[in-house]
């Protein structure tokens, strides 16, 4: 376990020097972390055995909330935007969730998809409010009262995102250990037993759903201020599919999984697009197939497995 933490610390340190070592990667990683938040949300529901093919809706909701606040209210502080977007998305998540968590399996997946596509259609069609398919431009937010250039802001945002990732990961680990965290997993393994224990599956799922929506909203808000433009495409079903894929690819065994998956996918994407503009889809697809075939536990499974191996090897050394 210690090796695992050391590994994460090393990875974290590696990420922290990116703005200086590879400036072009900074934007890619900011987006990867933003999508990672949404993927963690999806992974949380996956632990309960529920696939949401509609979580891009909350990602977009967070992004548009941030855009609306800057454009309409004149409040432009980064931290206010992130907190407000997360809260607004949590409320939307609770409202939508109250209805959706009554369903299981394919019905849950399809209803999420349906609601998210309604949301997508609204973003595209309410031309006067949302700017239609051209979207809305998001001006550079201020940070604690300071007005920064876009370049300076991007660096601040990157470290804020990185810090948030660490905080969320820490909270996530605690959550999974908590009774509520175990209850979420129990819905997947034996929902009837959970009810017999006196725990309401509906409430557990609603809380999980609200948290997952809030996480996606936070990711969306980060993406909105990083990209500087919000588009209805954020809510499109392929984005939702992408989030599920990210979660599964990274592995839902731990909170780090979706972040690993997201960073991995974004980097593969960037490399693929740079290598072959005509075949990047093919490269992405082939990579996904390889991971799914050979790493059924996701990339996180690979990390924990190698960490286990190293520690058991060391254990062996000590014994001899």
């Amino acid at each position: 376990m210690k090796i695992l933490y050391a590994l994460f610390a090393a990875a974290f340190a590696a990420l922290a020097i990116v703005p200086f070592a590879a400036p072009w990667l900074q934007f890619v990683l900011t987006i990867a972390i933003a999508k990672g938040f949404a993927a963690v949300g999806v992974a949380l529901l996956l632990r309960a055995g529920l696939i949401s093919i509609g979580h891009a809706m909350f990602y977009a909701a967070g992004a548009y909330t941030a855009a609306f606040i800057v454009l309409r209210s004149g409040i432009s502080d980064l931290f206010v935007l992130l907190i407000a977007s997360t809260l607004v998305t949590a409320v939307i998540g609770a409202l939508v969730g109250a209805y959706l968590v009554r369903y299981r399996a394919i019905f849950f997946a399809m209803l999420n998809l349906a609601v998210s596509m309604v949301f997508f259609a609204l973003l595209s069609k309410l031309y006067g409010i949302t700017g239609g398919t051209d979207g809305l431009r998001v001006p550079v937010p201020t940070v604690l009262g300071m007005t920064l250039t876009k370049a300076g802001f991007d660096i601040v945002l990157f470290y804020v995102a990185l810090a948030l990732m660490a905080i969320i990961a820490g909270l996530g680990v605690q959550f999974l250990k908590s009774p509520l965290g175990h209850a979420v997993g129990a819905i997947h393994t034996n929902e009837v037993r959970l009810e017999y224990l006196g725990v309401s599956a509906w409430s557990v799922l609603l809380i999980a759903y609200t948290i997952s929506a809030a996480l996606a909203g936070l990711g969306g808000a980060i993406a909105a201020v990083s990209i500087g433009h919000v588009l209805p495409d954020y809510a499109y079903w392929t984005e939702s599919g992408h989030l599920v894929l990210t979660a599964v690819l990274g592995g839902i065994g731990g909170v780090a999984g979706p972040f690993i998956g997201s960073i991995f996918l974004e980097i593969v994407h960037t490399v693929a697009v740079g290598v072959a503009h005509n075949a990047w889809n093919l490269i992405m697809g082939a990579t996904l197939l390889l991971v799914i075939f050979f790493l059924p536990q996701g990339l996180y499974g690979l990390v924990t497995k190698s960490a286990d191996k190293t520690s058991s090897a060391k254990l062996g050394e000590n014994k001899s």
Partner: protein, 430 residues
């Protein structure tokens, strides 16, 4: 903490500036990022653009490159979405060998890239996106559009329609269901209100992008019995719509206007008399284009290599390369033969006026372009086995643009029916 953040920010910014301000040596090679769709449905429009870029690079290099330096284009697929496009733009802009970007096809990508271009101080030539929102209410110093925009484009179609058919009263609109289609519908309606206020819009349909069936729309349009149908459908959507509308007689029942119809002339047999055109003047068979040896050679070489004559997205891309080349040359000259920096190229692009394959591109103070608008009707060709555009008119780009700083839609409303008399007659462009 504040101080640390601020100092770090300033430090980074000054580092970036310092690397850019360094004297530029003549490079081994000029890199240019070209953003277009090479996958997905919009590739029907984006791929001819990419092919045009490929051919242009070869032609420019065969003629000795730019000041002796060969050119290399890096094509970036816009189908990956705004984040991917921005990530790739940033990556390329981080390399010093890239001094100009030619981006983008989609309006939403142009709008998303504009602030990035400002931030990275990267001269960016918009090769296709034509939303009038791009330069509205904001000063862009690094985005240049030596191409047309929606205002002159769609006002011109209404003008042409009323010039050939002054008596029309009932008009239907069928446009794609996204910003481009809705913007065009607003502009067309505003132009009718200005030029012929008694025209009634009898149907306004917005089929979704990438729709496969247009039977419902065709039925609606037939039932509405419009005198004229306006459409700015494009790419595969346009081809689908026309293939389904033609057997049901829609294109002959009403005077049809296909604003982006030039792209399908080589693929579909349109009936004679359909008003077709392109965005801007990028038709390889206009008198001006045919009088230019280079354009004819380009079109023939394109046909040999890709099996089809160029369509207007190809010409727009080729013209954007010509503008870039002209800007490089102007910047080198202004720099006494020394290799220019990005800022010097941006300075050269400001207010540039240069001949293109199909006319002239001229930028005004806000970096938006004056490009003439060519429109005509389909007719048989003596030379080719597909329909060509006949009875052409070439409207002056400046005459159809809202004056600098004015709201374009409000400007259209100020026009009067007399404005039509100041325009050249259909068929006058021979």
């Amino acid at each position: 903490m504040k101080h640390i953040v601020r100092t770090a920010g300033t430090l980074m910014a000054s580092l970036v500036l310092a690397t850019q301000a360094m004297a530029q040596d003549k490079p081994e090679q000029i890199d240019v990022g070209v953003f277009t769709f090479t996958s997905g449905a919009p590739a029907a429009y984006g791929q001819p653009g990419a092919q045009g870029a490929e051919l242009m690079v070869d032609l420019i290099n065969a003629a000795g490159g730019i000041d002796g330096v060969p050119l290399r284009a890096t094509i970036v697929d816009e189908a990956q979405g705004a984040e991917g496009v921005i990530a790739e733009y940033r990556r390329l802009a981080g390399e010093t060998s890239y001094q100009v970007m030619i981006a983008a096809l989609s309006s939403s990508n142009c709008l998303a890239l504009a602030p990035v271009a400002e931030q990275m101080q990267m001269p960016t030539i918009s090769w296709n996106c034509d939303t009038h929102q791009l330069f509205l209410n904001q000063q862009l110093d690094y985005t240049f559009r030596p191409n047309g925009n929606t205002i002159p484009e769609f006002v011109a179609y209404v003008a042409y329609l009323l010039q050939v058919n002054p008596d029309i009263e009932r008009v239907a609109i069928i446009n794609p269901d996204y910003a481009f289609g809705h913007d065009a519908a607003e502009i067309v309606k505003a132009a009718f209100r200005a030029f012929k206020p008694d025209v009634e819009i009898v149907a306004e349909l917005f089929p979704s992008l990438g729709a496969s069936s247009y039977q419902t729309e065709v039925s609606r349009l037939s039932a509405a019995r419009p005198d004229a149908i306006f459409s700015n459908l494009w790419g595969a959507d346009l081809e689908n719509f026309v293939r389904q509308a033609q057997p049901r007689g829609l294109l002959t029942q009403s005077q049809t206007v296909l604003a982006l119809g030039e792209t399908i002339l080589q693929r579909i047999d349109l009936p004679d008399g359909v008003i077709v055109g392109m965005l801007g003047d990028g038709y390889w068979l206009t008198p001006d284009a045919q009088a230019n040896e280079d354009t004819v050679a380009f079109a023939e070489e394109y046909a040999t290599r890709f099996g089809e004559y160029p369509v207007f997205p190809t010409m727009k891309m080729a013209n954007s390369f010509m503008v870039m080349k002209a800007a490089y040359e102007a910047a080198i000259e202004a720099n006494d033969g020394e290799w220019p920096s990005r800022d010097e190229i941006a300075a050269a692009l400001g207010g540039i006026e240069t001949a293109t394959f199909t006319g002239t591109a001229r930028l005004r103070e806000d970096n938006d372009g004056y490009v003439d608008q060519v429109i005509g009707v389909t007719g048989p060709s003596d030379t080719y086995d597909f329909s060509v555009i006949t009875n052409m008119v070439r409207y002056d780009g400046e005459a159809l643009m809202a004056p600098l700083g004015e709201d374009p839609i409000a400007w259209i409303e100020t026009l009067t029916p007399e404005f039509l008399e100041t325009l050249p007659e259909p068929g006058s462009y021979k």
